[in-house]
């Protein structure tokens, strides 16, 4: 029975409640996922604090890692939004580090992956979505609605295209959250399955054990791939955040 449980690929995503809380009937219990999120925040904060604690002209190893991350996200913001978008840099940099940190924490065996929980990714995506709406209206006023009117289109066609644009706009939080959630979830399931195959084949204690080498190497290869995916998904999440925020800055396209 214990072996059965260890091989279940979905078991790793089960969230345990550590402390029960509720406000107005809403369950806001402190869970293992919340703990993992806090751990990521602490780790990221500690690393960045360490990186900039003793700044030098010739950066130390930690300092150059911090500067590399800063430059990477700052260039991304400048390329997609432009110079004026830099005031959103703290928000975007925080999102990037949080998502990247969560993905990387999940790569450590036995750790909970917060980004493999749809609530976490959905909350992040909705945060981006509402930031775009609120900031878009603050900056452009009612002109933000030009976002839904494609330019250079004859008037009769607009009656069809405007609803399409509106639907496309509301799809964003859905796709943004599902992309991150799906990639991380699928990656962890595949890893667990291959490792499970290896253990199961070894457990037969017969000539079949020889074949355990195949899933073992696949698991090894997928571990490397998952590190790539962990970075890539954090990158894609951040780039799309920039692209969506760009709409708030320049609503007419």
């Amino acid at each position: 029975m214990m072996g059965q449980m260890a091989l279940d690929p979905m078991h790793q995503f089960k969230v345990e409640t550590l402390r029960e809380f509720s406000i107005g009937g809403f369950d806001i219990s402190f869970t293992t996922a919340s703990l993992a999120l806090m751990l990521v925040v602490v780790i990221v904060f500690a690393l960045l604090f360490f990186a900039i604690s003793k700044p030098k002209i010739v950066p130390s190893r930690m300092q150059s890692v911090g500067e590399l991350g800063y430059e990477f996200v700052a260039n991304m913001v400048r390329d997609t939004i432009g110079e004026e978008g830099i005031k959103f840099f703290p928000f975007i940099f925080t999102l990037f580090l949080l998502v990247f940190g969560c993905n990387m924490l999940g790569m450590i065996p036995y750790f909970v992956t917060p980004t493999a929980q749809i609530v976490v990714t959905a909350a992040l995506a909705l945060l981006v979505f509402f930031t775009v709406i609120v900031f878009g209206f603050i900056r452009n006023g009612i002109g933000f609605l030009k976002l839904f009117v494609p330019s250079g289109v004859p008037l009769p066609l607009l009656f069809l295209l405007v609803p399409l644009e509106i639907i496309s706009f509301f799809v964003r939080p859905l796709t943004l959250s599902l992309r991150l959630f799906g990639n991380i979830l699928a990656g962890h399931i595949v890893l667990k399955l291959f490792v499970g195959f290896t253990v199961a084949l070894l457990g037969t204690a017969s000539f079949l054990s020889v074949f355990a080498i195949a899933p073992f190497f696949l698991a090894l290869a997928f571990t490397a791939l998952e590190f790539l995916v962990a970075f890539l998904q954090a990158y894609i999440f951040t780039v799309l955040t920039c692209v969506y925020l760009n709409d708030a800055f320049h609503p007419s396209h």
């Binding site: 609803p163 496309s168 799809v171 796709t175 599902l178 992309r179 799906g182 990158y235 894609i236």
Partner: protein, 77 residues
């Protein structure tokens, strides 16, 4: 890209059901917005495909010009 297509259809469906629920026009709102969602999905998917094709073309041009491949992430699934 796949997510764009499926997401648009789902959002269209949800909006349609919500509209029907508020206005009591079952099932016409759902049908109309489902059709709109599908159209929006295809449009969004084709737009993403166009962007990716353009990026790949740019990368190939840059590579053949000897300037090295442009640094851009890939947006799969």
């Amino acid at each position: 890209m796949v997510l764009d297509l499926i997401g648009s259809i789902l959002v269209g469906l949800m909006f349609g059901l919500a509209l029907d629920h508020v206005l009591g026009t079952e099932p016409w709102g759902m049908l109309a917005l489902l059709a709109l969602g599908m159209a929006a999905g295809f449009r969004l998917m084709l737009r993403t495909a166009e962007q990716q094709a353009k990026r790949i073309a740019d990368e190939t041009n840059a590579a053949s010009a000897g300037a090295g491949a442009a640094k851009q992430g890939h947006e799969d699934t």
